[in-house]
């Protein structure tokens, strides 16, 4: 008995340390954001007179509504199309009899470990040539491409995990491949599809490198890119910087807390597959 008590204490201690380590930077940001602007507070100091209007100032300084609109437009441009394309290709490759399908699949897999840094210079000139530089399309189109390796890999695995008898039965019934897809298999991979949607959303919302390289005006970029802009403009005013960063991160946090179960599941599955 004594051992289990001490073992339990150890575990709780470890958890506590992990959680303090995790929460501390965010806590420091919150307490700093509530201090008086123009002062030089310490990292962690209780705000005796919390200055809530700092958040209003930060909201205006960051032009938050414009940011939110832009981020939302980018997500709408990327996520539905990326999910659709991944699902179609995943189904096609999982059920295909095409000779050389493994070559196509291998081509996608090649991109799984590809760092985006390896593409940014040519992408810049390519998009410039297309006249899309500094528009939201300059983010939407490359992100669509960059998401394909994981999306195709993920959806192909989902379709392959379905029992083979399903397609045999449907084939005997004379189902076309579209019917097989739409009526039989798509409903069964919806859980994988929703996890994929969450991951794509997160990766689009948090994409940083492409925004820095391809977008000039922060109002055409996303929230992550806006953080760099805000830091550049208000880096010396640490109170406003913390307030602004929190506001810019608020939508991610809000959506995460609303869908935390789905997020945790998606991130865990996304890693394991």
């Amino acid at each position: 008995m004594a051992e289990t008590v001490s073992a339990r204490a150890t575990r709780i201690l470890i958890l506590a340390v992990l959680i303090v380590f995790t929460v501390l930077p965010l806590l420091s940001m919150i307490t700093t954001a509530l201090q008086k602007q123009g002062t030089f507070p310490s990292g962690l100091s209780f705000p005796v007179h919390p200055q809530w209007h700092n958040f209003v100032d930060a909201w205006n300084a960051a032009d938050f509504l414009a940011l939110l609109k832009s981020s939302t437009l980018i997500v709408l441009g990327v996520v539905p199309a990326a999910v659709l394309f991944s699902t179609l290709a995943g189904f096609g490759l999982a059920t295909s009899r095409l000779p050389g399908r493994s070559v196509i699949y291998g081509l996608f897999i090649l991109g799984l470990t590809l760092p985006a840094e390896a593409l940014v210079s040519p992408l810049y000139y390519e998009l410039q040539g297309m006249g899309l530089l500094n528009s939201r399309w300059a983010l939407i189109l490359p992100l669509l491409g960059l998401f394909m390796p994981f999306g195709v890999f993920w959806m192909r695995a989902a379709f392959q995990a379905l029992p083979a008898e399903l397609s045999e039965a449907a084939e005997i019934d004379g189902a076309s491949s579209w019917q097989m897809f739409r009526r039989v298999k798509l409903p069964l991979v919806l859980p994988s599809l929703s996890s994929l949607t969450i991951l794509f959303f997160l990766w689009t919302w948090n994409q940083f490198l492409l925004v820095i390289v391809l977008i000039n005006n922060p109002a055409d970029g996303n929230m992550a890119g806006a953080l760099a802009t805000f830091q550049g403009e208000h880096g010396t005013n640490v109170v406003l910087l913390c307030a602004g960063s929190l506001i810019i991160m608020a939508p991610s946090l809000l959506i995460f807390f609303m869908f935390q179960r789905q997020f945790v599941r998606a991130l865990l599955q996304g890693a394991i597959k």
């Binding site: 593409l119 491409g145 820095i212 890119g225 913390c242």
Partner: protein, 315 residues
């Protein structure tokens, strides 16, 4: 495509009944085969135009000297030679190897130790809350994590405050501004981002291990260490491979955190390949040099990650 079609139509003349049936069957197979292309086409198009084509271009650029505006002149392997001989370039690669310690070694070890020690900690409600909290760093933009930690490390920040509180130091050390502490400081930001994720992933993995294995080991009189080596570690192989792969790629291809916290400085002490590629292309206008570094980065990631993946599949 055309050749197979003509072959089928020329041989499938109506002769014997069973033969046509076979032909027709094969024809329908072939049709489903080629229709794969239709299913794959949208994905392949965006992937080809915005990933494969730029990738080929990167390789192409890497053999030229090009400022991004004027004419490019062929330069052989000079750009690659520079990557391995100019300290400004290879230092970025060495730094990214150091980051692996902070992005991979420490988080995976910490995650493994905590997961093993927490194995029997049950209680669903607390579990969900803990998971949610530990996942926070994984969900917020890396740039946000970097801003929070830049503030942590600043002379007035929490780190110095804590050290003063326990009497370890009285000065206001600028952790990110000092040549000797900047790289580990940047690394710890990575540790912060991935530790929670690794811990939860390994916890979930441990929960999936058949409990009877542990009971059997205990009956055999196995100690904790033996149990860990014989059961936990091999059973967690898949999860470990995932943690290691994901975090090594994050270390080698890091950009966001360094861009926000140090811009590679002071000097080149926190320069990483990703940031160097960016600066070479868009600030120093050495597109060819940037591309050669990019190709080396891609190769490095593959050389390191592919064997680890193999390890996960074996046995």
């Amino acid at each position: 495509m055309t050749s197979s079609n003509t072959r089928v139509s020329s041989t499938a003349t109506p002769t014997a009944e069973p033969r046509t049936r076979i032909r027709r069957r094969r024809l329908s197979h072939r049709r489903t085969g080629w229709s794969t292309l239709l299913w794959v086409l949208p994905a392949l198009t965006v992937y080809g135009v915005f990933v494969l084509y730029p990738l080929v271009q990167t390789i192409n650029y890497s053999f030229y000297k090009w400022d991004g505006i004027g004419a490019a002149t062929p330069d052989g392997f000079a750009n690659y030679q520079n990557v391995f001989t100019q300290s400004a370039l290879y230092v970025s690669i060495l730094n990214s190897f150091v980051l692996i310690v902070f992005f991979t070694v420490i988080p995976v070890t910490l995650g493994l130790v905590s997961a093993v020690l927490m194995r029997e900690l049950k209680g669903r409600g607390a579990g969900t809350l803990v998971r949610t909290l530990l996942f926070l760093p994984e969900v917020i933009p890396l740039a946000g994590a970097a801003i929070a930690w830049t503030w942590m490390y600043s002379p007035n920040g929490v780190i110095n405050q804590a050290l003063r509180a326990v009497g370890l130091t009285s000065d206001q050390h600028a952790w990110l501004g000092d040549f000797s502490t900047a790289l580990p400081a940047v690394g710890i930001i990575g540790t912060w981002v991935v530790t929670g994720f690794c811990t939860v992933l390994l916890l979930v993995g441990i929960a999936k291990i058949d409990q009877s294995l542990f009971e059997a080991a205990r009956l055999d009189g196995a100690g904790r260490w033996a149990e860990f080596r014989a059961i936990t570690l091999p059973e967690l192989r898949r999860e470990l491979v995932v943690c290691v792969t994901v975090t090594i790629i994050a270390a080698l291809a890091s950009f966001d955190v360094v861009y926000i916290s140090t811009q590679g400085g002071p000097g080149y002490s926190t320069m990483v390949p990703g940031l160097e590629i960016y600066q070479l292309t868009f600030i120093k206008q050495q597109v060819g040099q940037a591309s050669a570094l990019a190709v080396v980065l891609v190769a490095l990631v593959l050389i390191i990650v592919v064997p680890i993946q193999r390890l996960g599949r074996e046995r």
